[in-house]
Symmetry: C2
Subunit: 447 residues, 2 copies
Amino acid sequence: MNEALAALIDDIGDVTFSVEPSLLRRRSRDYFWYSQALAEDLRGKQADVIVTPRSEAEVVRVAAACARRRVPLTPRGGGTGNYGQCVPLQGGVVLDMSEMTAVEWVRPGVMRTQPGARLHLVDEMLRVGGQEQRLHPSTKRSATVGGFVAGGSGGVGSVTWGGLREPGNVLAARVVTCEETPRVIELRGDAAQKVNRAYGTTGVVTALEMPLAPLWDWIDIAVVFDSFAAACEAGLSVALADGVVKKLLTPISWPIPSYFGPFASACPEGHSLLIAMIAKPSLETFKTLIGSRGEIVHEKPFDESPAETPIYEYSWNHTTLQVLKIDRNVSYQQCLFPHDRLLDSVAEMVQLFGDEVWHHLEFIRFGGRVTASALPVVRFTSRERLFEIVEIYEKHGVFVANPHVFTLEDGSRHKRADADQRGFKAEVDPLGLLNPGKMRTYQPTRV
Amino acid sequence: MNEALAALIDDIGDVTFSVEPSLLRRRSRDYFWYSQALAEDLRGKQADVIVTPRSEAEVVRVAAACARRRVPLTPRGGGTGNYGQCVPLQGGVVLDMSEMTAVEWVRPGVMRTQPGARLHLVDEMLRVGGQEQRLHPSTKRSATVGGFVAGGSGGVGSVTWGGLREPGNVLAARVVTCEETPRVIELRGDAAQKVNRAYGTTGVVTALEMPLAPLWDWIDIAVVFDSFAAACEAGLSVALADGVVKKLLTPISWPIPSYFGPFASACPEGHSLLIAMIAKPSLETFKTLIGSRGEIVHEKPFDESPAETPIYEYSWNHTTLQVLKIDRNVSYQQCLFPHDRLLDSVAEMVQLFGDEVWHHLEFIRFGGRVTASALPVVRFTSRERLFEIVEIYEKHGVFVANPHVFTLEDGSRHKRADADQRGFKAEVDPLGLLNPGKMRTYQPTRV
């Protein structure tokens, strides 16, 4: 252990820390290995110490120590991201926020919570009062609220509410600056977007005010279609039906469903699925919209209990995970289709890549318009080809948030929050210690 | 009284009826006089008897009697429509449904009600359980559920849920046929659209299953802008913000606000308003979106109690009513702007008509897209000019549902339900007795 680190550990006093090697390894990783390029680029990058604060006061103490000792500081949530969000590019402290789990208060339509609260436990609590979180990633059962806001962009619920970057989907954030005398800053409204998808590089989030949704009785549904195009068309008709209350609408092309474990048998060889979460009172209308175009093969009240697999765990980037469980030789891609020629653009991509790219869409609202994002599964051949595929998508007018790069600037694209994150970083991280290198274009204002 | 009518009254036994002249006059009218053309065309059309059933069994008895005696039958709700919905074109029976007010059941997200239930009383009841109706017209405080479905197209709430014609916004309807032995038919899903905006010509509605929305604490808001264009732009940005929970978004151009009674003082001379209903937890985001573009001049928790004027009573066709209270020499127009060039199209119409047409918009969802419908106030010069204005709008790519004609076919246009209403009428009204002439193209299948 070097001198600075020893001094830092001394500075933080009774704040819990660990230098146990296997913990250092585990707490310095997320699911970046979905990308073979990131697996290569982030290999071996590791914290020197894991610090686990239990209060904002402890966060302040750690931030002060990092600033004083010029030691990098990288906050970490549940570690379910795919972009190396919690991988400390230059070592130092990984700040494990998983003990800061308190929900400070809940009101009709709003809650304020510490960042380490786990999304599924929060929903369990909210359910009692007839509310739930608007949005969650497919990793809901392990992810934290803070990790989601700091690295996510949307997910289950975005078909109704849009993504985290839409006005009103993050109401406020409280951050601790990384300075010798840290300040605590409350960001409200637009300003809260300064922490959205910034991977913790714009201050350590210690509280979030998040909007809530009224709770519905959700029904998990799967519908089989003859073709992917038919599943997409049916999905779009439901996405556009504002009278139908929905949380998830995911068309999935063959052969992806064959990788769905026990659920694989729901989809006959060569067919495509549309999986969905529909509010119980909208179920009849959903079925009317599907009509005779598809066959409902699964219909079950939503159940997140440990023995169950909720249908959202086949959607978003869990789709890739389901395939990876059986075949490690795949990767994925992240894109947003243009809303004004959505299905044509999808058809074009399907045509272009043949068996190399396996398609599935997520219907979402983006900027007030119904469109689809997608995390297609890609058969891995080479690193170069992964980047080539990105270029081909872009050349055809599909927006790509490249998941094979680890910097904020290169990866975010359409997922990027509409806020001056770099300008804000200069205020909160003058020494450039919040995971240096993650925001590639940032130049520290002090040394 | 003619022979058929006397026989009919004998047939209906103890079902309540009246031939009191002032009641005949009052119960044969709605607010069609907003259109000078309709005022002329519908003048003097009047029922021979008003019958007020208290149960479906009584409706069946009246329908049987009308069929047996070949007497026209015209159902009526609250009488708040603007298209002569309850005006019996060939006299006969006006069936006043206002006594059939029972809410049969309420479940999470759905209710089943008799048609005469008043919208505001239903909401009062639903509120206790944390729910409310998705949509209501600006005449909520006098209109009935049945009258709204039979003649309405949308209203307050359509900025979130779309109109009544969107899948899922009318779940089921029960109708009594007009035959010597009436049948009772349950229409579910798509089929329920056969009664939407059919003015009661496709069967007498005796029950409706309607979807409900979670109740929010609504805040009535008014914002002043320098120009109508600025109010429209700000409104559109809120309409497109899926994270903001809203029920009403109405930009209103000068001089309309000067007609708003005590509320007129909120808007300085020459300025425009944006009035809105925003859920309390979304208020901060709403204000952020408005920013410095406008000034909030009214902000008050929603209050529908008798002494209050909720802000929705300045929106939709209540806007016209507010002007008519002071100046009877105006009329209005009904249109839907194209979603893909919304503000350009609005600007074009503003430019085109100068002071002859006073503009206000209703942001809505239509077919899954954010757009705006409008009920502009028109300075009345002549009947011919009213129709000319319709043509000018249409020539410029704006859809018009002509409010100066009284037949279903000529008036509905984009408001028309997507269902074979004429085909269904042949089933339920073979003798053509349900307000003959209202569905102009219908030919009775029997005599």
